[in-house]
Amino acid sequence: MTDLPQDSGAQLLERLEAGAERRSERREFFRTALGAGAIAAVGAAAVTLGSRAMADTTSDTNLLNILLNFEYLEAQFYAFAVTGAGLPSAQLAPGSASTTTVGAVTGGKQVSFTDPLVAKYAREIANEKAAQVAFLRATLGTAVVAQPAIDIGSTATSAFSVAMRAANVVASGVAFDPYASDENFLLSAFFMEDVVVTAYKAAAQLISTPAYRDAGAGLLAAHAYHAALIRTVLYTKGATTAALRTQADAISAVRDTLDGTTKDDVGISPAAIANSQLAALNGLTASNIVPAGTDGIAYGRLVANVLNIFYLNSLAVTKGGFYPNGLNATVVTSAAN
């Protein structure tokens, strides 16, 4: 396993500059590909573009189990932050048809919130993530996978510390404690939230069963609400604590660097609007709450690219980072970038 380089400032900068170029390529792709009446095109191109075919529940089961792995991670993080304890064991066990085994949660502790609003946000999200775990488990029934081993610790070797060092939120060799302050909690939540949104966004077109598609849509929106909440709070607090914005930007850059060459992440710092088809908007300073391209389409990530981020590794590996033993799922390998 190749760990994320800890002294990555110069390399990151180099990759980020390349990223700006890729973003404009991506816009070009969308303009061209969906430009001239994509829906009109479908009738003739159905064979190659693919209308929804027969439901493939095996694949759906695999996919939902993968998403459940992500939900376990988020739910445990919020549960510990809010209550000091994790999900009940009944919410972690494998279904009778699954051969997976329950992994342990490493680390995690209660946050002493300073801002009562942040505490209320955290409790809301914790409740909702727990409900989502329960929902996916009930939906998957006997096929449900157990929780994998999860690292949400706060030591110098913990996944959060590795990630935050890469983003220069803490210095080389220093521990980052997600539970030490409101700010650390928010930055940690930020690290995960947008990633899971991109996973659900990309999953939408892969799910076949209509009922699962409805569920996937509901979960996509729910995660985007959560991610927006976290980004908005960071942006607002960042107006007076500037480091929060630059740190969030750096975390976004780390995510975007880990997962390959496609531009699929954006920080929160304000920027001038550019390339809007409404000329009057161009040049105005806007926030960056939504991680989307100038086409207004929120980014998506394939599972393998999501795993690059959660394994904290830009190469093809089967475990690491937040999942020390990998996912409990059919796909356990991150992409080779």
Partner: protein, 338 residues
């Protein structure tokens, strides 16, 4: 595309993704050429009263995929109407002007009639953060209009008549009156203050999220599912942003924002039938309620008819009213009977 493709451990995923894009690009352009001016679209889009044209003889034999195409056109045109409404609201609030004609005209193969925008003016924002949020959302909504129009091509419906007026007879005021945010007959002016702007944005945002949540599983074409999911996520971020700002301002300095958001939510819920499809932003004593989710943690969904109940401000089956005085353009235009 085989669903299991994505599930195979793939060290070369990046390459496959690139190849997939190239493949898609090729397919899409070939198909566009094949359809040219698209007689299929002019025969079936929009008003349903179109006259067959000389090119109709070249219309391909109907197939299940063409039915899917027409259904997807209807869905995207429906969503485009919602995008017109939101884009006009935000752009006029931010810039004082609306969308250019090139972004509201009908496509070549569509027969719908373009409507005017009533009301709307620039907001003098007090909080610079609210101004920055408004600009970001405005740019995204304009991009959504452009994207949906681009995807629909010749089948694009024109912007319908839209009412975003802040006078006592405007749609925002009607909803605010129904919610008892203002007294009967009184004006609710979305452009008068940061707070009113945020509440007006709130009136629309969650409704559009529920529209996408409810519509997603009806979309047949893989590429369009992906595009709709992207707009869906973006709109959910917008809604989450607005709800968070209302909650924060309501909790710190302006408690009426919390109660008014709850009243507006109740009013929306009263239009769309007996099912609880809406939530305010206040949780219990120790939680917020930024995300309007069901007990499973899933975002709430509305059918197209229920969405139109809210935007027409009418619980009955009608074809216009409220924010769309002449109804939305396209084949999906009737609200549900509740």
């Amino acid at each position: 595309m085989n669903d299991s493709d994505i599930l195979v451990p793939a060290p070369d995923a990046k390459e496959r993704r690139r190849a997939g894009r190239r493949h898609f690009l090729r397919s899409a352009s070939v198909a566009t050429l094949a359809f040219g001016g698209s007689a299929l679209l002019s025969a079936c889009g929009g008003s349903g009263t179109s006259t067959p044209s000389a090119t109709d003889s070249s219309t391909p034999t109907p197939s299940p995929s063409s039915t899917d195409t027409l259904n997807d056109q209807d869905s995207f045109n429906f969503l485009l109407n919602l995008a017109y409404l939101q884009a006009q609201f935000y752009t006029v609030a931010v810039t004082g002007a609306g969308l250019p004609n090139a972004l509201i005209a009908k496509g070549d193969g569509n027969q719908t009639v373009q409507g005017a925008v009533t009301g709307g003016r620039q907001v003098t924002f007090t909080d610079p953060l609210v101004a920055q949020y408004a600009r970001e959302i405005a740019a995204d909504k304009v991009a959504h209009v452009a994207f949906l129009r681009s995807a629909l091509g010749a089948a694009t419906v024109a912007q319908p008549a839209i009412n975003i007026d802040g006078s006592a007879s405007g749609a925002f005021s009607a909803l605010a009156q129904a919610a008892t945010v203002v007294a009967a007959g009184a004006a609710f002016d979305p452009y008068a203050s940061d707070e009113n702007f945020l509440l007006a944005a709130f009136m629309l945002e969650d409704v559009v999220v529920t529209a996408y949540t409810g519509r997603q599983s009806t979309i047949a074409t893989t590429l369009l599912i992906d595009a709709a999911a992207g707009i869906h996520a973006t709109t959910s971020y917008h809604a989450g942003l607005i709800r968070t700002v209302l909650y924060a301002k309501g909790s710190v300095s302006t408690p009426s924002l919390l109660t008014n958001a709850g009243l507006i939510s109740n009013a929306r819920d009263a239009f769309d039938g007996s099912t609880d499809l809406d939530q305010g932003i206040v949780g219990d004593s120790v939680t917020s309620n930024i995300s309007p989710l069901d007990s499973n943690g899933l975002a709430l969904a509305r059918t197209a008819g229920q969405v139109l109940n809210v935007l027409y401000l009418n619980k009955n089956a009608v074809v216009g009213g409220g924010f769309f005085p002449g109804g939305v353009n396209g084949n999906i235009k009737t609200s549900a009977a509740n």
